[in-house]
Symmetry: C2
Subunit: 562 residues, 2 copies
């Protein structure tokens, strides 16, 4: 099934939801002219079709392989990665001072979307590099920036995020990796990290590991964590003492090696401190917020790819009859319902993630309210867009019928690949906790109130108005609730608020789309479906979003095993 | 993670929902005394723990293997299957006249549930044999019954269902396999069938293929289909001309070989007609109805297994803190919410499937309304219980966090195994079409009206009453609607009606459970969660269940590719 980049839709959503034309009026984003945006979207589309999409299946069936010397990628990956570097696709969103093209983060998101729709596992590699660039750009010293940023920008070197340890997952404060000063400004790093995506590979000349660790006498918990930069190859050309112990045997995303990394087995692992000592958690959040949006973007990637595959199958497969004879399955009502749902949910996920990206760009321009809004919508974009990626991938299997369960069609790969996204970079439950625990209260609830007011001002659909009102009422209640009641309601509340936000952004698109070509017709149809069917579904979550925690704790934990 | 048969819950639901004590008062089911039922549930539990559960992982990682000689099961499967035969577990639900124990179908369902929770792929083999037994018991000649039923009852021989062909999936009437009379009462069979579960294996001495085929001059479509019995080994001991061409490379259920079978490559495939010529579709429905309930039961199997694994993990894994120090993740509200949802949805699925099974048994006793009710609830049990199996398996991964995506925990296997169940034995979309297209109108709508009246009489929970009323209104509308409008609304309507039915059966359980031990506490807590949170969610589907088909056809099919 050939992959077709969703260029028209991307451009439309960049314009109407991310506000790229406005951004382009600023000096910082002046490069984002109409022509350039079109050229970038078209160009990366052709690149993805030609270079990355053809490797997607081998990424799954062969996968990354571990050996004592390191991780080997399947045939063709190194060359395709080098073509990505040479094409300059890594530099899109990087500031010009670091050798980048200075385009908005929203454009970079569209580029990553296309790469990931073509090959989701592969695209995780540049996604992580983006996180490392952000961390260094915000917290690195001028020397560190000069040394690392240009190479990371092009992708000649790739980046990793090293947070998790066996006993420290969602509770990152429990980590034990140690950093001890060597007296010359460098630090000796010792410890084991798990779940390190692209922690090793053979596609680039160097890998820049960003590692959370504790320093001697550091306070307990997250307050005592610092961030270190640990290159695979040191500046003097020697190999650092970082070893890839194994890679995980995962359900999907086989092109992405998930590594166990051991730092300092031979007491010769050196690194440099990024930002101040104990500044690790702050730097981590810089890296993570970005990464969280990019994981939400993976939901868009897989939803787009799964939808295209299902549509192609449904337009081709003849089965059963309709009034006028044998019918392609796209003509059967329940198949049509699934396809329309896939289209609508994919567009919803894209709207949410591009909106967040556009707010990141406004924040870059100094807009304080946009900054608040990034904070507010990041958990929505990460959690809800990945939930949608999973739902759409599952519908994609269903449209294929028995063929969907057979690996050869690729529908199953989307389903398996997608399932990690609600877990990593903070589980979706953690996102919901972040939303009700920290984000609702930002600016004394002002961020939330303004978001709701903006939505309400534009909402013109009856059920969307009801949903926005419900979210408003719930959000205000949750701000003052008992901590456990908040958390008990957090997931259904996050879903309701996400659907309201998507409905708002889609309704706007439906009003702004012009003409009557296939794109415009499909946009109106999918938005109507979203507002008429998916928004009312979300209203059904009201009961769950108002239920007290006591309902969850009515029985002792051990009774669950009864 | 050790598997624990859900004996207490099974017994409780058999008593309160399937009505086994009442059934045992009949002559036909007199064997189902309290002691016997307890002994069966306990006995199969111990058998499943000892013999089948230990093979589950190898079923996934090694899987069934094809060779030119046939399909080889992983080490240990043949012996474990023979132990199943010797233990008499196949004979539970078979009538005494065929060498069975004459116990209710509901008890047999509980037995299959336990076997499938221990090893879902393995349990599919006896599940298919049950379908073959039903077809022969209802449509076979006395000679055929005498020859085949005793061996199928014990499981010495296994059964298969051969419906699908490459061009004939959901549209079974499009099949092309030919049966030509040989003049001596036997028929020559020629054709290719796909997706034949356990179409070949090396665990039993013979395999009895039930094959749908067309006879010369047969009318087109489903009216011209006949059912044939094609043994792998003929009565004279010679091997029949049935060849396993290949097995599918599936996402899950690797212990179950999904075969492409070629009949009559050498023009030497012989079979016998079951029932009258052109009686194939009727016999198929006998086989399928049973099989559909048993696929619904697979939803229960995987939900139970996934829940047990997630509970065990959550009771063990320490991460983060609560007020009184480090906490097991079961103490975190959103994890607790997921686990309670898993418990509630598993109990809902079991209630639905056991209820249907109990109605099968009443129908066997001659209750005509029960017969109608089996027809009504079969699509609900098949579709909704499998949807729940998938939802619960996905939550199981989420509770495990990153460990859930790594294959070693087994959470991923449940998720992969479960995904076929909404597809085979008639996709869930086909079930929804069957519900609104045929089942609602049965007995001029009387079957539906009486089901709703029964629910309404017992419903005591505000939102459950609302849901039942909504289903009643929708169901009456759908009976007279335009065919496409019916189909457009069918899936959300099926879900609403299923949730109403589950809510009704669970509320009854909550009222009937006695005492205050862990089981009773958990039952009340999960039912409260179901009624307070899951029932209101289903009410959110009202808009979708009343939307006209025109919303789905607002754009031409090709616009989906735009």
């Amino acid at each position: 099934m050939p992959f077709t980049p969703a260029v028209r839709e991307q451009r439309f959503v960049l314009d109407t939801v991310a506000g790229v034309p406005e951004l382009a009026r600023s000096e910082r984003f002046a490069a984002a002219s109409d022509d350039v945006v079109d050229a970038v979207l078209e160009g990366v589309g052709q690149f993805a079709i030609g270079e990355w999409a053809p490797l997607n299946r081998a990424g799954d069936t062969v996968g990354a392989k571990w050996s004592p010397e390191g991780v080997h990628m399947p045939d063709g990956y190194r060359a395709a990665y080098q073509a990505y570097v040479e094409g300059g696709w890594g530099t899109i969103g990087v500031a010009e001072e670091w050798g980048g093209q200075g385009l908005p983060f929203a454009i970079q998101s569209a580029v990553l979307e296309t790469l990931g729709s073509a090959n989701m596992g592969f695209a995780l590699c540049p996604t992580l590099t983006v996180g490392a660039i952000e961390a260094l750009a915000h917290h690195g010293s001028p020397e560190q920036q000069a040394t690392y940023l240009p190479k990371l920008a092009t992708g000649e070197w790739t980046g990793t995020m090293n947070l998790t340890e066996p006993q420290a997952g969602s509770d990152v404060g429990a980590l034990r990796t140690m950093a001890t000063p060597l007296g010359d400004g460098r630090w000796s790093i010792k410890g084991t990290k798990i779940y390190i995506s692209f922690g090793d590979h053979d596609m680039a000349d160097n890998i820049v590991h960003l590692v959370l660790a504790r320093t001697p006498d550091a306070p307990k918990g997250t307050r005592g964590i610092s961030l270190f930069l640990v290159p695979k190859i040191r500046e003097d050309g020697t190999r650092n003492d970082v070893r890839v112990v194994s890679i995980e045997h995962k359900m999907g995303l086989h092109a992405s090696p998930t590594c166990v990394l051991s730092f300092g087995d031979n007491d010769d692992c050196t690194g440099e401190l990024i930002g101040p000592e104990y500044g690790g958690i702050r730097a981590m959040f810089t890296m993570m917020n970005n990464a969280r949006l990019n994981v939400g973007l993976q939901g868009v990637q897989v939803a787009e790819a799964a939808t295209q595959a299902a549509v192609a199958y449904a337009l081709d497969r003849v089965q059963g009859a309709r009034a006028d004879g044998p019918a392609r399955i796209v003509e059967h009502p329940d198949v049509r319902r699934m396809l329309l749902r896939m289209k609508a949910q994919t567009q919803a996920a894209r709207a949410l993630v591009y909106y967040a990206a556009g707010q990141v760009d406004r924040a870059t321009l100094g807009d304080r309210d946009a900054n608040l809004r990034v904070e507010m919508v990041t958990p929505l974009a990460k959690a809800h867009a990945t939930d949608l990626g999973n739902e759409v991938a599952s519908l994609g299997i269903q449209v294929h019928g028995g063929m969907g369960y057979v690996e050869e069609t690729g529908a199953a790969q989307f389903f398996r690949d997608a399932r990690i996204t609600p877990i990593y970079e903070g589980t979706n439950g953690i996102q919901a906790a972040d939303l009700v625990g920290r984000k609702l209260a930002l600016d004394n609830g002002g961020g939330f109130a303004r978001l709701i007011a903006d939505m309400a001002a534009e909402a013109e659909h009856a059920d969307l108005k009801s949903l926005i009102e419900a979210c408003d009422a719930l959000g205000r209640t949750l701000q003052t609730s008992d901590a456990d009641d908040k958390l008990a309601a957090s997931y259904p509340f996050l879903t309701m608020l996400s659907v309201a936000t998507c409905g708002w952004l889609l309704e706007r698109q439906s009003r702004m789309v012009e003409g009557d070509d296939s794109f415009a017709q499909m946009k109106r149809a999918s938005v109507a479906f979203y507002l008429d069917q998916i928004v009312p579904e979300a209203l059904g979550l009201c009961a769950a979003a108002t239920a007290p925690a006591s309902q969850l704790y009515a029985v002792p934990a051990e009774a669950f095993a009864a």
